[in-house]
Every structure is written in C-alpha cells, then in structure tokens.
C-alpha cells in the first residue's frame, strides 16, 4: 500500500484540546502574521489551558515552521511556567511549612 505523500491534516482537526482551537484557526492566525508560539497563545489562548500546551505547542511549532519555511528547531520556544500540573490552592495552604 502506498501512503499519500505529505498528508495535510484537515483544518477542522482540534489542535488545542483545552481551549478547543482548530488547525484552521491556527493557520489563519499564522497567515495574519502571528508567527511565534507565544503570539498565537496570546491571541487565541492555545496553550493556556489545563495541560499548558503539552500537545499543541509542538503542533503549532510545526505549522509555523511549514509556513515560514524554517525547521521546527528554529521556531522560538515559549517560557515553560509553573506549576507543572494544576494544583488545588487549598493543598498549598495546608502544605505550608511542611516541606
């Protein structure tokens, strides 16, 4: 079986599951000139949700790389921010001074 060359995922594919943002929306933002992961995050919230961009960050980087004709490694990386996983605030109060 021959796989189709360079399959182009459908524009309706959900890229950011936390904030419900599609590939089509990401591509439209890149076309408007938002060409860093941070800018796309700021304008669309992609990567601001519960998972903090664990899935969408790489997918968005790939789209930017394709659009700009650069490699994924050349795409500017955003800052990784704490906490690593969401924490219930009350557990922090209870945990105070117990480390």
């Amino acid at each position: 079986m021959v796989m189709p060359e360079n399959p182009r995922p459908d524009d309706n594919t959900i890229i950011c599951r936390c904030e419900d943002i599609t590939l089509g929306e990401i591509r439209a933002l890149i076309a408007q000139g938002y060409t860093t992961i941070d800018e796309i995050k700021r304008v669309s919230r992609a990567g601001m949700g519960q998972c903090q961009g664990r899935t969408c960050r790489q997918l968005i980087a790939r789209e930017i790389a394709q659009a700009l004709g650069i490699t994924v490694e050349q795409v500017e990386l955003p800052q990784f921010r704490p906490p690593t996983r969401p924490i219930v605030l009350s557990t922090i109060v209870e945990g105070e001074g117990n480390e």
Binding site: D38, Q50, S90, I92, V93
Partner: protein, 383 residues
C-alpha cells in the same frame, strides 16, 4: 548612513507604544516606526492583571483612568477590531480593613465623585451582597465603582497595533534599540540591531526599561523595574463579578470573561529585571485567598508568571518632553497602571507631539517635578 527614517520613533511595542503610534497616525503623522525588542505585548502589558479602574487617590490618575474607560467602552469600533478587546464593566470592590484606611477611602471617593466618577461607599453587608462568600472579619467597609472593569491586554495591544499598521505605521519586532544619537540636545537617530533610523523625535514607551533608554540620550530618568507575580486558575462558571482589592493585604483577585480567576499579591522586591516565579508567591496567594475568599481555594492554579511594574518615585506616570533634549518624550513610570490608562495616554502624547498642546493638562506629570520637589503620591497602589 541610515537604513530607515521616520518622523517619530516609538520605543516599545506594549499597549502604550501601540496606542501612541495609532493616535499619531490618526492625526496624520503616519511616518512612524515602533521598535520592539520581542513581540507586541511581550513585556509588562502581556503580564499585567488586566484590570481597568478609576478609583485612584490623585486627581490626574483618576482623570486619566476615567477618560480611558470612555475609550475602552467603544474600543472595538474605534479600532475596528473584529475579535474584540473583551472590555467588561463588572466593577471594582475595594476593601477597607482599618479606620485609617477608611478615612483615606472617604477622601479618595470625595475626589473621585468630584471628577464625575460614580463610586459608592458600602457597608460590610452591602459588600456581601456583591460578593457573598467574602470573609468580612476585620473589614470596616468597601468602595465600589460599577464602571471599572477588565479588558484583554493582548487583544487591546494587537487592536492598536493593527489599526496603526493600516494607517501606515511600521512595527519592527525582534529589534533592539542599542543607542540614541543626540547632537546639541537634538535627536539625530535611533540605533538598533537591525540598522539606524534617522529621526528627530522619540517616544520612550519602554516600560521598566525606560530608564535604560533615557540614559542612551543622556537623560537620568527615575524609572525602575519591580517584579510582581500573578497566578491564574482553571476556568469555572461565573462566581464573582467585580475585581476584589485589599490594599491592607496588598492583594487583588478577579474572574475573567474566560472563567479563570487571576490575581496577585505584593511581596518585598528589590529594583531589577527579574521575572522568575516563586513558590513563596503561590503560598502567600493561597493563604490570603483562604483568609479573604475561602471557597476559591478549591480552584486549581494552572499557571503563574511575573512581570515588571515600571515604578516612578511617586507612583504616577512620567509624561511629556524632558529638556534639555528636544523632542524626547516619555510615556512611562506607570507603576502598575499603564494598561488601564494607555488609551488616553496615546491621545495625549499624540496631541503633544503634533500640536504642542494637550486636551488634559498633564504638565504636572513631567519629569521636572522630581527636580522641583512637586511629587504627588498615589496612595492606591497594590504592591
């Protein structure tokens, strides 16, 4: 040889720089270049608490905020920005926890009301009607202004940036200013890592870095960076209408349009450019929430970050020219309130640059006030 030339170079692509550039272009001054080291809204603007309040303690801060609210109210049409800037007027509830603070609030509210800002003084029970789960232990009263609110700092900056571009403004991102050439007190050029821009007019909108920019023109500007941290929770259904502030706890907390709660608390900070997040902040926030808004400690925090206040000695902005250097304009020193006053600051700076006059008298906010000893301290600052 200069690679570029412009009638005005705006240094800084935050909300203030973009608003100044747009308002200049609106007035026919379209040969403007905005120089931004990173991307638009990547500094203090994009890191701010996003609140818009008019409840200040000095006349000029009140007036600047009041006029900005008027612009925010019609901003989507004014800037023809389809996604919208998400301005919502859900009010600010400011809590008093001592008689001394309550006396200061009475003075503030008298001033605010005299300037046409509709602020009410509330009893503890009246405050509870607005936020029923508030822990009022030790609380004396509160002030409330229902035209205060919240806007999206990213969309606001992008809206100004895009509107400015449509009018011919050039925005150079990923471009760092490395020098300013001045001869006989006249600006000749702004030097960047992407080339030299010939110009005779500079607007310094570099936020916490404004002091460094001024130094390049030989000006000693008393503005410094001071870290302030913020956290944001998971989004939930609408639970709390207004921004809740307590200057006593140095604390603010607000639910955004998106449903997430966002807030911060002041910690002792040295001058500097450090924007790392700390565990201490998270612990202080959690403990203060438990004290003031107990049910909200059931929320999950998803992210924390930090940004810089561009502090001035009296917590009021520095606006206008600074002699002896000609046509070097400042729009900085906002001390944590730059986002909320940016719309009118853009108008005033553009008026000043294009006509030499402003529709609101901002002569008291010049840099000369520090030499004259005419400081007017703003009492209502978090942090």
């Amino acid at each position: 040889m200069s690679e570029y030339s412009a009638d005005v170079v705006v240094i800084g692509g935050g909300v203030v720089g973009c608003a100044v550039a747009f308002e200049l272009a609106q007035r026919g001054c379209t040969n403007v270049i905005v120089v931004e080291r990173g991307t638009l809204a990547c500094g203090s603007t994009g890191r701010c608490g996003a609140g818009v309040r008019q409840q200040f303690g000095t006349e000029l801060n009140c007036v600047l905020a009041r006029e900005s609210v008027r612009i925010f109210e019609k901003m989507d049409e004014y800037l023809d920005y389809e996604p919208g800037v998400e301005f919502r007027q859900s009010g600010y509830l400011i809590l008093a926890f001592s008689d001394k603070q309550w006396d200061q609030f009475k003075k503030n509210v008298a001033l605010q009301r005299s300037l046409g800002i509709d602020v009410k003084m509330l009893t503890v029970d009246e405050a509870l009607e607005i936020v029923p789960f508030l822990n009022t232990e030790g609380m004396v009263g509160a002030t409330f202004c229902n035209t205060d609110g919240f806007a999206n700092p990213f969309h606001t900056t992008f809206a100004y940036g895009q509107a400015a571009k449509r009018l011919g403004v050039r925005i150079m991102t990923h471009t760092t200013v490395t020098g300013i050439e001045v001869e006989n007190d006249r600006i000749k050029a702004v030097v960047t890592d992407k080339g030299k821009i010939a110009t005779d007019t500079v607007v310094n909108c570099a936020g916490a870095y404004s002091g460094d920019i001024a130094k390049m023109a030989g000006i000693d500007l008393p503005v410094w960076g001071e870290r302030h941290q913020i956290l944001v929770t998971e989004p939930v259904e609408p639970l709390m209408g207004p921004m809740v502030i307590s200057f006593h706890h140095d604390f603010y907390f607000q639910q955004s349009v998106h449903g997430s709660f966002l807030g911060g608390i002041g910690l002792p900070e040295p001058k500097g450019y450090n924007i790392m997040s700390t565990v201490e902040f998270l612990e202080r926030m959690a403990a203060t929430l438990k004290q003031l808004l107990p049910p909200l400690t059931q929320l999950r925090v998803v992210r924390q970050w930090a940004g810089l206040y561009d502090r001035s000695p009296d917590a009021q902005p520095i606006l206008g020219e600074c002699p002896p250097v000609e046509k070097f304009y400042n729009a900085n020193g906002f001390s944590g309130h730059g986002f909320m006053v940016a719309p009118i600051v853009g108008v005033l700076l553009a008026e000043l640059i294009t006509t030499g006059k402003t529709s609101i008298d901002i002569s008291k906010l010049d840099m000369g006030r520090f030499a004259r000893g005419e400081l007017v301290f703003e009492p209502s600052v978090v942090g």
